[in-house]
């Protein structure tokens, strides 16, 4: 007659995962999975698919006497328009650092929020701005200048009337 070396299982010492619990665990796992999927679906809602912001394209009328290299900022827009011998071009005035609206001046642009400074071609001169100011698409149709704030173009792109 052999004696068992392990004590009989006690009510207080149940097996870690008895076989009959597998079904229960599977049920819980599937419930958790379903809830996670539902949550992922819910989170799609706050990610806007259509932006309600106003159109990025606008018509601009350049002043007749705009000097070469002098900035013209249309009212309510964050774009600086320039005209020189090679044509018309537009540079964004939204700071690439944290989105403040920068002011054009004689030497280029200056940001009021954290002191970034840009050359007159938009490249960073000093301060925390990580990128140059983007140049924006300008087109000339029917005697009007159309600027598209949403369409960056390579720096140096100038358009003749």
């Amino acid at each position: 007659m052999s004696t068992t070396t392990t004590p009989p299982p006690s009510r207080l010492d149940p097996e870690p995962v008895p076989r009959r619990d597998v079904l229960g665990l599977a049920a819980m796992a599937s419930a958790a999975g379903a809830c996670l999927l539902a949550l992922a679906g819910l989170l799609r809602l706050p990610k806007a698919a259509v932006l309600s912001s106003p159109s990025k394209k606008f018509k601009a009328v350049l002043p007749e006497n705009l000097a070469a290299g002098e900035a013209f900022v249309p009212a309510g827009r964050s774009v600086a328009l320039f005209r020189d011998a090679e044509g018309v071009y537009a540079i964004s005035t939204v700071c690439t650092h944290l989105g403040c609206i920068i002011k054009p001046n004689a030497e280029g642009f200056e940001c009021p929020c954290h002191g970034s400074k840009f050359q007159s071609d938009g490249s960073v001169k000093r301060g925390p701005a990580p990128r140059a100011l983007p140049w924006l698409k300008v087109s000339h149709t029917g005697g009007n200048w159309i600027v598209d704030e949403g369409a960056p173009v390579p720096p140096g792109t100038k358009v003749q009337a």
Partner: protein, 517 residues
């Protein structure tokens, strides 16, 4: 029919019951009666749904002023004040851009007590931020995060983040210039991972920054969608999160065995002063049966009720005192100083200087070198470090004592000097001589993101902390050095950002030196 069985006088009984009704309503609401005996003082607590988060008895160490300084209760009180005043403000506030500003002006100039209520709301929010930071500092320096309270330290960190989130989302709601530009900056900090993804050219495929900004603003600019989102966060999602976390935080205090105290607390306290309610003044009239015998340890309930006193009245009177003090502070500040309301938000002219709420000005000082590192990178490292502290410091020495652990107060004093000194030195250098881009105009952005005052200070603090761990053979010593340094850095940067930065974020000794427009 005998006279004794005379039918009862229905009307008289009705009248008697009606007369006794108020007393019966009171007695059924407060079953335990006056908390005058040990038993009724206990039932006063566990018979009341609002009070029963408290334990029935509380250790005398917990009630010492120097144990907590009442900072947790002060935070909770400030939250209750913002909750009540916030709901009052919701009667008039309209979360739509121009209407929001008009309703704020109404609250300020027309609504009866409107300005006062708004001032209280704003000051209570500030008190809450200060109190929650001090409360964390207290918990850290008394080593109260240690086993078995590690998880509650994490919950506390969550509460800190939600508190800051509540303050920040409230900042946009007035829709004035201050609000608009602080939120524009905040939203672009959320977008700042682009500083890295742009530099390595993967933004097109992997753009966490853009997604964060889109989720926060619901658009690409701060507009009506952003306002309604911030409103929703401010009045619904974050308060719910805060309430849930607070519930867990308080409940865990009990489950973790009350507040941390030194192992020799009983000896240090000595006998209770005369006049306190001693333990077991009367024979218990009722015992509770165990429903079942189960295996396992009960957390930290290995002591008898020695040296404890009933929570009613000792703890509750202390809590009530802190609550009334908090109310007094908020009312006094609200009377002295009006909450600001600048001009209507103008998306084409930034406020100059555009400053965030004061507790973010330290970060704003850091983002003026690198948006990503100052706004996301270093704060994430700090939160991660804070969260890991209780899991790395598994020591026992000094639990429940101010500056407990190897090194003690002298170590903290040296760390204060090092923290203040290194932060002031780095700031002086960058204010005097500028930073990398001024010296090397064509330097790649990634180098600036990697090497800037935020990362330099973090590295100095971390190296100092590692040296402390080696020198004292103790993680606690390193943690104390690191925490003290970060606290000093936060203080110095916040003061510089608040008082010494003017238009274009240029350094000025005083606002009187700011250029006039």
């Amino acid at each position: 029919m005998t006279p004794a069985e005379k039918p009862p006088d229905g009307l008289r009984e009705f009248a008697d019951n009606l007369k006794a009704a108020p007393r019966h309503i009171y007695e059924t609401a407060f079953r335990s009666g006056t908390p005058a005996t040990d038993r009724t003082r206990s039932t006063f607590i566990f018979g009341n749904v609002f009070l029963h988060l408290h334990s029935v008895r509380v250790h005398r160490w917990t009630l010492r002023w120097s144990t907590t300084m009442g900072l947790g209760i002060m935070t909770t009180s400030a939250f209750l004040i913002t909750l009540i005043t916030g709901v009052m403000l919701m009667f008039y506030y309209k979360p739509f851009p121009e209407a929001a500003y008009d309703s704020m002006k109404d609250i300020h100039f027309v609504v009866p007590t409107g300005r006062f209520i708004r001032n209280i709301h704003r000051w209570a929010a500030n008190v809450m931020v200060v109190a929650v930071i001090l409360h964390m500092t207290r918990a850290f320096f008394t080593a109260s995060y240690r086993k078995p309270r590690e998880y509650n330290w994490l919950i506390g960190l969550g509460l800190l983040v939600v508190t800051l989130g509540l303050s920040f989302t409230g900042y946009l709601l007035p829709w004035d210039q201050l609000a608009y530009w602080a939120i524009t900056i905040g939203a672009n900090i959320a977008q700042s991972p682009r500083e890295v993804t742009d530099a390595i050219g993967i933004t097109q495929w992997f753009d966490p920054g853009g997604i964060q900004k889109l989720l926060l603003l619901g658009s690409d600019v701060v507009g009506p969608e952003a306002l309604i989102r911030f409103y929703l966060l401010h009045v619904m999602l974050l308060p719910l999160a805060l309430g849930a976390l607070m519930g867990v935080h308080f409940w865990r205090i009990r489950k973790d065995g009350g507040l941390a105290r030194p192992s020799d607390a009983d000896a240090r306290l000595g006998p209770p002063p005369a006049g306190t309610y001693p333990v077991f003044t009367e024979a218990p009239q009722r015992t509770y049966q165990l429903a079942a015998v189960v295996k396992g340890r009960t957390p930290a309930v290995n002591n008898g009720p020695e040296n404890t006193v009933p929570s009613m009245p000792h703890l509750f009177y202390a809590e009530l005192g802190v609550f009334m003090l908090t109310v007094l502070i908020c009312l006094a500040l609200a009377l002295i100083s009006d909450a600001p309301l600048k001009e209507l938000a103008n998306p084409s002219v930034p406020e100059n200087p555009a400053k965030a709420p004061w507790y973010f000005l330290g970060l704003q000082e850091l983002v003026s070198f690198s948006a990503f590192m100052g706004g996301i990178g270093v704060p994430a490292i700090v939160l991660l470090g804070l969260g890991l502290i209780p899991y790395l410091d598994r020591e026992k020495e000094g639990t429940g004592q101010w500056f407990g652990g190897p090194g003690g107060w002298p170590l903290v004093r040296r760390s204060i000097l090092l923290g203040l000194g290194s932060t002031l030195l780095v700031e002086t250098l960058v204010i005097r001589f500028g930073w990398l881009r001024e010296w090397f105009p064509h330097i790649p952005q990634l180098i600036i993101t990697a090497i800037n005052p935020a990362t330099i200070l973090t590295t100095i603090y971390a190296l100092y902390s590692l040296w402390l761990i080696r020198r004292h053979h103790s993680t606690r010593a390193g943690a104390m050095g690191l925490f003290t340094c970060f606290l000093c850095g936060f203080l110095v940067l916040t003061i510089i950002g608040t008082y010494f930065r003017g238009p274009n974020w240029v350094f000025y000794w005083s606002p009187g030196d700011w250029p006039k427009h």
